[in-house]
């Protein structure tokens, strides 16, 4: 797994790639925690290059969103494809998150 972050307007885009599994979830979590710690409270997670996600990754997303909500921040998800999209749907993340088909749509919604 690789993670790149960059500012886009008032949001911060987190571009993850590869596998987010039980082995890689801790570094995924610390990357997001670091951003929140730096006061980046509008996060857009670009999942376009993520080929696999397990519950370990889902837990990081859920915990991060809860943390952000407590600070009046938000986490938007974008670009989920294939099996990643299926895992998000089966886990009911559609009721919890705004999931956008493209990064552009997510950034527009982020303001």
């Amino acid at each position: 797994m690789d993670i790149q972050t960059r500012p886009e307007g008032r949001a911060t885009v987190i571009s993850a790639s590869g596998k987010i599994d039980a082995m890689t979830a801790p570094s995924f979590e610390s990357s997001i925690s670091d951003l929140i710690g730096e006061g980046k409270l509008c996060l857009v997670l670009d999942l376009g290059a993520v080929e696999y996600i397990s519950s370990a990754g889902l837990r990081v997303i859920l915990a991060s969103a809860k943390s952000l909500k407590g600070k009046s921040g938000k986490l938007l998800l974008a670009n989920a494809r294939g099996s990643v999209q299926e895992v998000l749907e089966i886990s009911g993340f559609g009721t919890v998150f705004s999931i956008y088909d493209s990064l552009e749509a997510a950034l527009e919604a982020a303001g």
Partner: protein, 144 residues
């Protein structure tokens, strides 16, 4: 055609996860499991293995045995551990319909096991937990 059983053992440590997934992936591919269904089975295998590592062998001193075999129309993965008796499939389904504030952080792994296999069952045999995960060999839906 029924294939011979392929068996391996790994230490019940997260570090074993890539080898566990490779074993499942290779055997499922050899048995002719369709790619999407194979990915789902690998996900279910990760969830089960990680569950055993974190709950059955908290001290890291344990072993997990994996058996794979095929029947005429299914591919079967059995995951066995000698930890305390525990049926992970008895974990209640998470409520996936509620809003963020009410969402529980745990429980999703077993939910994924149920959804990405065609059949999942647990039994206690010879002082071992045996989790049997089955996927169909046809090209049907990847989850039931």
């Amino acid at each position: 055609m029924t294939r011979d059983t392929s068996t391996t053992r790994f230490p019940a440590l997260l570090d074993s996860l890539p080898a566990v997934i490779a074993f499942v992936e290779d055997n499922a591919a050899a048995a002719g499991v369709a790619p999407a269904k194979r990915n789902g089975l690998c996900l279910a295998a990760e969830e089960a293995f990680v569950n055993i590592c974190t709950h059955s062998f908290k001290d890291g001193k344990g072993e997990v045995e994996l058996d794979c075999f095929s029947t005429s129309n299914t591919f079967v993965l059995e995951i066995m551990d000698s930890g305390p008796e525990f049926n992970m499939l008895s974990v209640p389904e998470p409520d996936t319909s509620v809003e963020l504030e009410q969402r529980e952080i745990g429980g999703l792994g077993v939910h994924l096991i149920r959804n990405f296999t065609d059949h999942a069952q647990w039994r206690r045999l010879n002082n071992k937990n045996v989790l049997q995960l089955t996927v169909n060999l046809d090209d049907g839906p990847s989850h039931s």
